[in-house]
């Protein structure tokens, strides 16, 4: 009980402070209030009476028959409650009479208990209950009370909600209000208070736009309490509720946004239909409830059947002034936001700066074709020293005039745009119209200061949809009149009229006229010879005018111009210049370029020098590429614990990642900036602002550019860890990504030591399919195509094309093919074009190119492991690598051509032909001398593995035999380049090896390492010998890519008896294994001594277990050492260590 009474003491404090506020704002919601004054005063007296209850003024009329004076506190309270009920009943009967008919008993059976501070106050709620047939309990009782009404709950109650509420629903006061408005009892479920225990306003919230409105609304309360009557509990309650609503709002923010947009239209009705008090004081709850209700609506909540209720919510929303007040807006640190307009998306979802920042992307998407179109031309214009005419068009106080374009009556009144129109607020004016500017109202000013200067200032919230619409209209007009438009912002652009025959002044006025007609907003224009002067001219022209600065007037115009007016001169630079006694451009001109550059740095110095002379050689249409992308939040950052901050950080990363995606870039350097509250810095003047802060930052660079959220999160967490900060001190966090690279050309030219980058870039340059976004490549691609088409044209005219070497980027070893005397006009032939040709044309073309087209196609396809079956079926061809010699393939019915090749020979034939004509082919091939092998290590790389694979065995063998043995290195390297090619190439390699060894006569002719599956596997499998079978099985188990060492590795685990062979199969096993090993050595020794080494180490182990292996080992070991000696000039060290 005592808890209760102390609670009500608190709440009474709340009431009273509230009431004093009410009185000052002079609105009392209902008509019973007059007759009610006495009653109204009473509860507060009584609750105070918990301390001094003798002050009770009402005589205990009926209680007198019981014990009087009260025996104890309990009986007193009981009596008191009873009396209160009586009073209530009496009042209810009178009030339902007095107020005409509105008192439908919608709350019948409902008995509420109001806990703590509420908006509206408990007295108002009591009034509603009176009027609509409900009951109002002054003291909590589980039996009588059906609903607990409160806006906020303190921590202790939340933690122990059950014991506090006794299981009764805890509902927000909006439930009552809404029910009254709907004139029926609404379900309380959506109004349930589900607050979380956080009493510090936090940033998590700021990812939801609504949140800001909440905290804004909290603000006046806070300052109110500073006045003296503040109660801690009360304040924390507020904090909690705002916190709570934020958390809700995060979930619903989209819905709410939509809602808030829609609600703007209804504003007038709602504002007149609602008592002022509500609009001023209620927003937390209303917002919150509204959001909840909206959400529930969407979840098709059953209680929502009437459209009336829906509109009611919208209305409620309006009362908070929400659409505008949702904008959390401009922080104290405007410059930082301007530096980096790409703000965290949700945080600034409704922010003007964010709007401007994202607008550019939108614009690019919308007008990309147009702006790209002129970009190409603009470079040409640069060359011609034509007299330029640049027009700078700027809408006049865009943000205001768009909002009031449909309110002509406000045209001459001072109007400003701000996210909150709270006259006491520290919200910043974002834009003011000219009448307002006359009062000295400037952008960035706090609302309260603005209101002080101009009390009748009308403040409007943002209307981003309208801004977007007007900006689009604006640019449509600009693009209509001019093909060289450079967008500066959503309301500002440069036009280049150099090409135009018309007078730019006439054009400008026409554009302005059209803008006014279309958008009902005015625009100003400046016309001059360059962008700088055009912009300065606009300054003069404003508002709603235009101004032309002819070249001869530039100097005059500039001489008296204050330096601040020059773009690029901000506060800092201005101060510095003023120290140099420079106030105007004229004075600036006195200073030599050298000393300017000395004082201000090369670039700035030059800029100052140029600008003070009206020199500006920037071109219209040159879009600056952003160097960094990031997001920074400096407002409302308050963390309670590390988890909060981590949460926030990962949200920030998400935003940054989205931004990166949006711009199509990836970055390598990540900078985390943190604003830390300075020691003994006070709470900032601006509510939830960052105040006086130290700026800290850490950055890191990763080798590979990324835009991946997870990577960002990992990096930022790591960076965050470097700071070692108390998270409670953090007032702002920003993450910036620099060293941007286009995501399209990713991994090109990246960190040198990144193998991956090199690999992929190499792949990119060789792989046709890779569409690189790099313009250079694109250009060369189109070149290729163009040439290809040209060539095709010629071919179609059936002109005889000379026999020319043909090449392709993707071809592998054809570097030396170009040694033909004629220049190769086909070297850029586009494979894709060729492939898409009709077959007749293709074969014709193929003839003309001596059949190399097929070769090319097949080859490139083969390389990309994407064999075009149609082609390879009809034209399977083989390139035999030959040197120094001409060859005639007489037997080829399809291509009867002489192929003059200087260094190499490419033999290609139809498959059928090859089979039949293999003999002749083979006859010819040996003719080409095999000499100077060392200089020709690459010839065999020209063999197309896929083609070879399809040849009949005999033919293959023949061809392979013709290959010079020394080139086996190419085979092996080929063989290892990819698993899919491995088999045929392996066969190649071994064949060559065999060929080589045949001459030495030490290895059997049967190539065990050829074929798919390998021949030895086939052979071993059918063998009678167990160990051989086992080996074959192992091979299958491992899949066909297994190396011998891998197979042997598995054999280790076999039991001893399996390793040994019985007597009758002994010889077979030994022989086969020796054979196998020798061939394997031959195959691998040059490039993979490690593999051989491992195999023999394993063999040695087997040799200790198995006699067969011992014999094999002793047989093969000399051969191994000989081979090693031959290749490496040493002996293999066979130790037991491995």
């Amino acid at each position: 009980m005592s808890l209760d009474s102390s609670r009500s003491a608190n709440s009474s404090g709340g009431h009273r402070s509230k009431r004093s506020f009410n009185n000052s704002t002079s609105s009392n919601p209902s008509n019973y209030s007059n007759g009610n004054n006495k009653k109204k005063a009473k509860p507060s007296q009584e609750t105070l009476g918990a301390a001094s209850w003798g002050a009770n003024s009402v005589p205990p009329s009926r209680s007198s028959f019981r014990k009087a004076p009260f025996s104890d506190f309990g009986s007193y309270m009981m009596e008191k409650n009873r009396k209160l009920h009586d009073q209530f009943d009496a009042e209810a009967s009178t009030s339902s009479h007095s107020c005409s008919g509105s008192g439908k008993p919608i709350f019948h059976g409902i008995s509420i208990f109001v806990d703590g501070f509420t908006i509206p106050s408990s007295q108002d709620l009591r009034g509603y209950m009176l009027k609509h047939g409900g009951r109002f309990e002054n003291y909590f009782s589980r039996r009588r009370v059906t609903h607990i009404i409160c806006s906020n709950l303190p921590d202790s109650k939340l933690k122990n909600l059950r014991s506090f509420s006794g299981g009764l629903p805890v509902v927000k006061p909006l439930w009552i209000l809404d029910s009254v408005v709907a004139n029926k009892l609404l379900s309380w479920v959506p109004y349930q208070l589900d607050q979380l225990a956080n009493n510090q306003p936090r940033l998590s919230a700021f990812f939801a736009p609504k949140s800001s409105s909440v905290s804004k609304d909290v603000k006046p309360e806070g300052s109110f309490f500073k006045g003296g009557t503040s109660t801690d509990a009360y304040f924390s309650d507020l904090g909690e509720s705002s916190e709570h609503s934020r958390q809700i709002s995060r979930e619903t923010d989209n819905l709410v946004n939509r809602n808030s947009n829609a609600s703007l239209v209804m504003e007038p009705t709602s504002s007149c239909g609602r008592p002022f008090e509500l609009t001023m004081e209620k927003p937390n709850n209303i917002d919150e409830d509204n959001k909840r209700s909206v959400r529930n609506e969407l979840q098709s909540s059953p209680y929502q059947s009437s459209a009336l209720a829906t509109s009611n919510f919208v209305e409620n929303h309006d009362m908070t002034g929400s659409p505008g007040s949702t904008v959390s807006g401009l922080s104290n640190h405007r410059h930082s936001t301007i530096e980096d307009p790409n703000f965290v998306e949700n945080y600034f979802k409704n922010s003007r700066l964010h709007f401007i920042g994202t607008w550019r992307n939108r614009y690019r998407k919308r007008f990309s074709s147009l702006s790209n179109g002129f970009k190409c031309r603009s470079s040409n214009i640069e060359a011609s020293a034509q007299k330029t005419a640049i027009v700078h068009v700027d809408m006049d106080c865009f943000f205001v005039s768009v909002v009031i374009r449909d309110r002509p009556e406000l045209k001459d009144k001072p109007v400003a745009v701000c996210h909150s129109d709270n006259p006491k607020g520290t919200a910043e004016i974002s834009s003011a119209n000219y009448p307002a500017r006359d009062y000295g109202i400037r952008a960035g000013m706090f609302v309260r200061d603005a209101k002080a200067r101009c009390p009748h200032l009308v403040i409007f919230p943002y209307n981003f949809e309208a801004y977007e619409e007007v900006a689009d209209q604006f640019y449509n007009i600009l693009h209509k009149h001019c093909n060289k438009v450079q967008a500066v912002s959503c309301d500002e652009a440069f036009l280049d009229f150099t090409d135009s025959v018309e007078d730019p002044q006439i054009l400008a006025s026409r554009i302005r006229k059209e803008v006014i007609e279309t958008t009902r907003c005015t625009a100003s224009a400046g016309i001059a010879g360059n962008m700088l002067m055009a912009r300065l001219a606009t300054r003069t022209a404003k508002p709603d005018g235009q101004f032309f600065i002819p070249p001869e007037r530039v100097d005059d115009h500039l001489s008296q111009l204050p330096i601040k007016a020059l773009p690029g001169i901000g506060h800092v630079l201005e101060e510095k210049l003023k120290k140099h006694n420079v106030w105007t451009c004229g004075q600036l001109r006195m200073i030599s370029k050298e000393s300017l550059q000395k004082d201000f740095g090369m670039k700035t110095g030059e800029m100052l020098w140029d600008y003070s002379r009206g020199v500006d050689d920037r071109l219209v249409g040159v879009i600056q590429v952003s160097k960094s992308i990031g997001a920074e939040v400096n407002w409302g950052v308050r963390f309670k614990d590390v988890k909060d901050s981590q949460n926030f950080l990962s949200n920030l990363c998400k935003e940054v990642s989205l931004r990166l995606h949006g711009c199509g870039v990836q970055g390598r350097t990540f900078t985390l900036k943190i604003k830390k509250r300075r020691k003994d810095a006070e709470e900032p003047i601006k509510y939830m602002g960052c105040g006086d802060c130290e700026n800290l930052s850490h950055s890191t660079t990763v080798p590979v550019a990324t835009d991946d959220v997870e990577v960002l999160q990992r990096i930022s967490k790591q960076l965050f860890g470097y700071f070692h900060l108390d998270v409670k001190e953090i007032r702002g966090i920003g993450l910036q990504v620099s060293r941007l690279e286009s995501a399209g050309s990713l991994k090109q030219g990246l960190e040198r030591n990144s193998l991956k980058s090199w690999l992929s870039s190499a792949a990119a340059s060789t792989e046709e399919a890779c569409n690189n976004s790099c313009t250079a490549l694109v250009r060369s691609d189109t070149d290729c195509e163009g040439q290809g088409n040209e060539i095709l044209g010629k071919i179609c005219a059936s002109s005889v094309w000379p026999s020319i070497e043909m090449d392709n980027n993707t071809s592998n070893g054809e570097a030396f093919l170009n040694q033909v005397s004629e220049p190769p006009p086909l070297c850029h032939l586009d494979k894709e074009v060729l492939e898409s040709l009709p077959s007749e044309i293709f074969s014709e073309l193929n003839d003309i190119y001596s059949g190399k087209l097929v070769d090319l196609i097949t080859k490139s396809n083969g390389k990309s492991e994407n064999i075009s079956s149609s082609l390879s079926n009809s034209h399977v061809q083989v390139e035999g690598a030959m040197k120094k010699g001409h060859m005639v393939l007489c037997s080829d019915p399809f291509l009867q051509h002489e192929i003059p090749v200087e260094d190499k020979h490419i033999a290609m034939e139809d498959q059928a032909v090859l089979v039949s004509g293999a003999e002749s082919n083979n006859v010819v091939l040996p003719d080409s001398g095999i000499q100077k092998i060392d200089l020709m290590p690459l010839s065999l790389s020209q063999v197309d593995a896929t083609v070879l694979q399809q040849l009949p065995e005999e033919v293959k063998a023949d061809i392979l035999q013709l290959l010079p043995a020394h080139r086996k290195q190419d085979f092996s390297s080929n063989a290892l380049s990819g698993p899919s090619k491995e088999t045929p190439l392996e066969s190649l390699g071994t064949k060559t090896a065999e060929y080589h060894s045949v001459s030495k006569g030490c290895v059997s002719e049967n190539n065990l390492w050829a074929g798919t599956p390998l021949q030895w596997v086939v052979k071993f499998k059918v063998s009678n010998c167990l160990i051989l079978n086992v080996l074959a099985e192992m091979y299958y188990e491992l899949g066909s890519t297994g190396t011998l060492s891998a197979i042997l590795q598995r054999v280790i685990s076999l039991p001893k008896h399996q390793l040994d062979a019985n007597r009758d199969s002994w010889d077979e096993a030994t022989y086969n294994l020796c054979d196998l090993l020798k061939q394997y050595i031959k195959r691998k020794i040059e490039f993979d001594i490690e593999e051989i080494y491992i195999c023999f180490c394993l063999l040695r182990r087997f040799a200790m277990k198995s006699e067969v292996f011992l014999q094999v080992y002793t047989n093969v070991f000399p051969y191994l050492q000989a081979s090693v000696g031959e290749n490496y000039g040493g002996n293999l060290h066979m130790s037991l260590k491995t």
């Binding site: 040198r752 030591n753 193998l755 991956k756 090199w758 690999l759 992929s760 870039s761 190499a762 792949a763 340059s765 060789t766 792989e767 090449d807 392709n808 980027n809 993707t810 071809s811 592998n812 070893g813 054809e814 570097a815 030396f816 093919l817 170009n818 070297c827 850029h828 390389k863 990309s864 060392d934 290590p937 690459l938 790389s941 290195q969 190419d970 092996s972 390297s973 080929n974 290892l976 380049s977 990819g978 490039f1087 993979d1088 001594i1089 490690e1090 593999e1091 051989i1092 080494y1093 090693v1124 000696g1125 490496y1128 000039g1129 040493g1130 002996n1131 293999l1132 060290h1133 130790s1135 260590k1137």
Partner: protein, 204 residues
């Protein structure tokens, strides 16, 4: 066109190879403990922890030696690169040999995972192969030697001048080889093995 492409691709191979060699040689020198371990610092290369010489002169020696090999590797002239440890009498005690073949005609797409994996495995293997190596005598020296397929013309480039024709004392018997790692992929075949004097080698 084609040739240029190939060359650039091959140039890349060579460049990567040179970079890798620098790291590997640093690791070898660290492994052999010629210098106190404090003379090295931990770095990361290809996501593997490697040791890099901290002393600027040592680092420079390795760096300049290897990087001036680049043009020769690009031309395919370099057959082997050896890191040789001598005893006080200038007789080699141990040789780490990189045998390399760069496929000059390489122009097709790479088995990227394969290559990266392989190069990395060299470094990993190298860092654990101390047991394979010999204990060095007290006052040893070491040097880097490259075996060329043919002697480069002196005028070839300025870098070439840094390389002087030399002949080191050879073992009289064929050495014993201990393979450390091999890789063979399309553009690059690389083998690293140890050479130790054979047991029959006359002791000095």
């Amino acid at each position: 066109m084609d040739r240029r492409e190939n060359q650039s691709s091959e140039g890349e191979t060579a460049r990567i190879l040179v970079e890798f060699l620098e790291v590997a040689i640093n690791s070898i020198v660290f492994l052999k403990g010629v210098y106190p371990s404090g003379a090295f610092e931990r770095r990361r290369y290809m996501n593997v922890v490697v040791q890099r010489a901290r002393h600027p002169q040592l680092r420079d020696y390795i760096h300049s030696t290897v990087s001036t090999l680049l043009p020769f590797i690009q031309k395919g002239l370099v057959e082997r690169v050896a890191v040789i440890f001598f005893n006080a009498d200038c007789i080699p005690v141990e040789r780490f040999v990189f045998k390399l073949v760069v496929n000059q005609s390489y122009g097709s797409k790479l088995e990227e995972a394969d290559l990266e994996f392989s190069l990395r495995s060299f470094l990993i293997k190298l860092s654990v192969s101390e047991s394979l190596t010999k204990v060095l005598p007290h006052d040893c020296r070491w040097e880097i030697i490259a075996y060329f397929r043919s002697l480069p013309q002196a005028s070839m480039s300025k870098d070439a001048e840094l390389w002087t024709p030399t002949d080191t004392r050879q073992w009289q018997q064929p050495p014993i080889l201990i393979p450390i790692k091999s890789m063979s992929s399309e553009p690059l075949c690389l083998q690293l093995y140890l050479e130790h004097p054979s047991s029959s080698e006359p002791k000095p």
